[in-house]
Amino acid sequence: MALFSVSKTAFLLAFLSLRTYQSEVLSEPLPWAPESLKVSVNTTSQCLHLQWTVHNLAHHQEFRMVFQIEISRIKTSNVIWVENYTTTVKWNQVLHWSWESKLPLECAKHFIRMRSAVDAAKTPGPRVWSSWSSWEEADVQNSLGQDPLFVFPKDKLVEEGSNVTICYVSKSHQNNISCYLEGVRMQGEQLDPNVSVFNLNHVAFIRETGTNIYCKPGQGDGIKGTVLFVSKVLQEPKDFSCETQDLMTLNCTWDPGSDTGLLKQLSQSYTLFESFSGKKILCKHKSWCLWQVAPESQDMYNFTLTAENYLRKRSVHLLFHLTHRVHPMAPFNVLFKNVNATSATMTWKVHAIGKYYTLLCQVELYGEGKVTQHNVSVKVDGVHLFSGLEPDTEYLAQVRCANGNHFWKWSEWTHQNFTTVEAAPSEAPDVWRNVKIVQGRCVVTLFWKPLSKLQAHGKILFYNIVIEYLDRTSGSEVLSIPAPASGTELPLNQCSSQIRITASNSVGTSPASVLVVSREPGNEEVEEERVKGTEDGFPLSWNPQPRHVTGYLVEWCEQPRDPPCDLQWKNLGPNVTSTVVSSDAFRPGVRYNFRIYGISTERVPCLLARKTGYSQELAPSDNPQVVMTNLTSHSFTLSWKNYSTESQPSFIQGYHVYLKSKAGRCHSGSEKAVLSDDAVCCKYKIDNPEQKTFVVENLQPESFYEFLVTPYTSVGEGPHDAFAKVTTPDEYSPTLIRILLPTVFCILLIMITCYLKSQWMKEKCYPDIPDPYKSSVLSLIKSKENPHLTIMNIKDCVPDSIEVLNKQEGTRKSFTETESTKPTYLYLLPTEKRYSSPGPCICFENFTYNQAASDSASCGHVPAPPKAPPSQLGLLTSPENLLKALEKNYMNSLGEIPAGETSLNYVSQLASPMSGDMSNLPKNPPEPALCSEYKMQMAIPLGLASPPSSGSSSLSSITLLDEGERYH
């Protein structure tokens, strides 16, 4: 100790002298200064390793010293890290210290120096440092190689969420190097002209094969990259638990959480360590591990489960007593013995878990919608008796077990089904009847309801019916009706009888239902009462019977409109005097009839009350079919006898008769009513629903009326849609009919007579025109004048000709000198000039008969141009001459036409021009000399010929002369 004090004093003196004469003594090394500082670089772990010794340490000296370490980057002045490293230093000891760089060490040069001081924490005053060691350089860049580009760090493994620094080192002095993270360009900062740095914060796991980072220069195809392996963070195992099924093996399970496996790193491993035994096993599976229990040796276990990967380690602990973690296996061999109608015995086996352990088993029974539960204590074999079961019912039984001493967990359930056997039906069938008298015989229709499953105790096979006649002489009858019938019809020999009905299954027969039938129909005069249905049903009540009754029964039809009416009944106790009958089959607007019977002790039913009502009344949807009779001028009678008040959707309270008239006046007994369409009418009210006739009076004769009969109920009237129409007759019309009818008859008689005698009338009034062929005149002409003369044939006739006749008095001339039979045409010449060639003529030709003519502008009706005689032509050069010629020709041919008339005659092509006037024929009948031709659509210049007009103008007189007629 004295030596130490001396040394210390000397050190202090030396230090003071250092401070005083710093400039002079700087180069002089102090005792215990660090020396032989060596720096090495581990690029895999990106660590700088320092090793040094302490100078001048005596052989047995041991000091606690502080070493201050400075790290600079790129240049010595850029200090990035200062750390005081305190340790105990012995003689000749080599000291080590490591520092992990965030920046990859390949990216920049690093410089390290250190100084030392004796750790004088217990002594006050400033610490006296040794001099700094010289800077040691750590430079990996020189050893990189000749490649133009490098990316660092190489294949680094980090946890998710870490911050990572990436850099590239370019040796080709290219500035336009771009770097990408998973194909996305990164923005970095330049550390020096050849080095750029990229900081990645909170890196995320992308894939097992790592995150690709690569750089490429702007020119050339060199690409350099690195893979950053980002591992998921190792999680603490969750839900760590151990249990045993047989006290031989412990099964430990846990939730491993996310897998941290990568291409570069295996998935996390799990080890299980037990501290009492000191045993440790490496688990083969990620989420469970088996631990062999040494028999009878250890009860308490303290487990440590450790998850570990390259970067991290996590542990969980579990302390437990082995017998408290027993999870038995599911029971097996579940069987049922002695299964009868109401009980069964279940047996099962359990896997043994040691000699001294008792299992607690839970037995559950499901059946008929109920669950029962029982606990049973079991060593090896379990037994349980189920009682109070229903016959013919399927049950499901299941059992599970747990450690009876220290409950930990139930085992899995083991299920088994069983069915109880059948038993005789327990209840008598619910039976009702309907009695009819058919041809003097009683016919009973029996109805029964099927027994419920709980009553039937098995499948009902048939129903037995025993009829016992009460007068003892007729004996009894036995019938068997196979199920599933629900009724039967029985003709009885005698009405007075007792009927017993039982149901049978394969095991036995039910108690009997007894009905007594008697000839008396019962109290049928019971008055029907109305009952109002509600949403819950029909509330029915009746007076209690003074006589002793065994019960009451209500019957009704659920389908009263369609037979069979689906008879329903309801049995009630003897003390009940009211009930509510409800059914899903009840519909609004349907009338239901209920009959209430009292059942006597002799099983004879007696009708007590009749009720009728609607579950909901609806307004009538139809009006009565009304027949109108006795129509007079002042009244008519309406009748709707066929209208049934029973089958309506509500109780009919009466009728309204509506009468519409133009007058709009209402007489006494009616009132004015306004209909929904604003029509005003008179309303007659009939209060009695059974009154189905009505006389409408005080009507006006010959008036139009509309009427409607509609029922009214508590919920409204029938529809107001179809008014019938009627018109009252006239007061005098019967008298008029008495006169008119005979008159009409007489006229008809005359007309019929005229029709029948029409031939006679015709002959007398308008005889037929004679036929020229048959005329006697024809034979006369032939013999006298011309043997070649014939009556013009229809075929030869020039079609439709128009002839204008101008007759003048005193110019008659005989036509006897006619020589030629050829027709002559007269041509109109509009100028004074003489024409030798055929000129235009006015003609009307029907092309139907002469097509060729239409092609010729010169009225080519005649193939050869007509050569008019000079004299004739000369005459025709002026209108006056023309007129004369016309007159002359006309007179030549028709000398007998009354003078002073100018007319346009139409000459039919089918008949001779003369045929119409046989009496005017000259002595020498002319050939069809004058044929006025009608040419349709013939273009005639207006300047040449004016259209013919009826009237006195001579220009309009166009006469077509017979060519053969020579004008002399």
């Binding site: 998973e182 094969t209 690195t226 893979v227 291409l263």
Partner: protein, 225 residues
């Protein structure tokens, strides 16, 4: 570059049908020695089928490697993959190859590629990928056997592997995981190119060896990945 699974199975079924019916083709069913024609045809068909199978596999595997390896226009320099047999050859040189040399080159190339591919399979992390790779390796083994069959039919000896040159799983010294991924990329790319080249090789051989009767070929589209 993704080929759906049913597509691959459809092609396989088609190929099986074709192979099944090959004996029924009259030109191939001559009495006596049928010559190397059928086995050349079979080998040709197998190369086309493998081309399709590889396209699907490469798509999956490159996605597994991640970008930039699965980018369509990624075309890095062939640096670390020098030991891979190179399929690219000058056209005149390729034309001037004799049958024996042509077949020998094919055989040697697939022997090497198959070894590398098995190495790839060992590294794969996902079970599905391992299954696909194993399936492809089996098919490639079949192709190798088929080429050996053709060579035997033509009377050429199989090339003996030189001692020490047998690749040991991975092509070349992979310095980093990034370079290893690059090698994987080049392995798949070179394999694709070899399959294209083999299809042409066997088509050429087929035309040379056979009359034009046995024209049962599969016309399959080939695209790069």
């Amino acid at each position: 570059t993704h080929l759906r699974a049913w597509d691959s199975w459809g092609l396989l079924a088609c190929l099986c049908t074709v192979l099944w019916h090959l004996p029924a083709v009259p030109a191939l069913n001559r009495t006596g020695d049928p010559g190397p024609g059928p086995s050349i045809q079979k080998t040709y068909d197998l190369t086309r089928y493998l081309e399709h199978q590889l396209r699907s596999l490469a798509g999956t595997y490159l996605n597994y490697l991640g970008p930039p390896f699965n980018e369509p226009d990624f075309n890095p320099p062939r640096l670390g993959a020098e030991t891979l047999p190179r399929a690219t050859v000058n056209l005149d040189v390729w034309r001037s190859l004799n049958d024996k040399l042509r077949l020998t080159q094919n055989y040697e190339a697939y022997s090497h590629l198959l070894c590398y591919l098995r190495g790839l399979n060992r590294q794969a992390a996902t079970a599905e990928l391992r299954r696909s790779l194993a399936h492809f390796c089996t098919s490639l083994q079949g192709l190798l056997g088929s080429i050996a069959g053709v060579m035997a039919a033509l009377g050429y000896p199989l090339p003996q592997p030189l001692p020490g040159t047998e690749p040991t799983g991975a092509p070349g010294p992979a310095h980093s995981d990034f370079l290893r991924k690059m090698d994987d990329f080049w392995l798949l790319k070179e394999l694709q190119t070899w399959l294209w080249r083999s299809a042409k090789d066997f088509n050429r051989l087929k035309k040379k060896m056979q009359p034009p009767a046995a024209a049962v070929t599969l016309h399959l589209e080939a695209h790069g990945f």
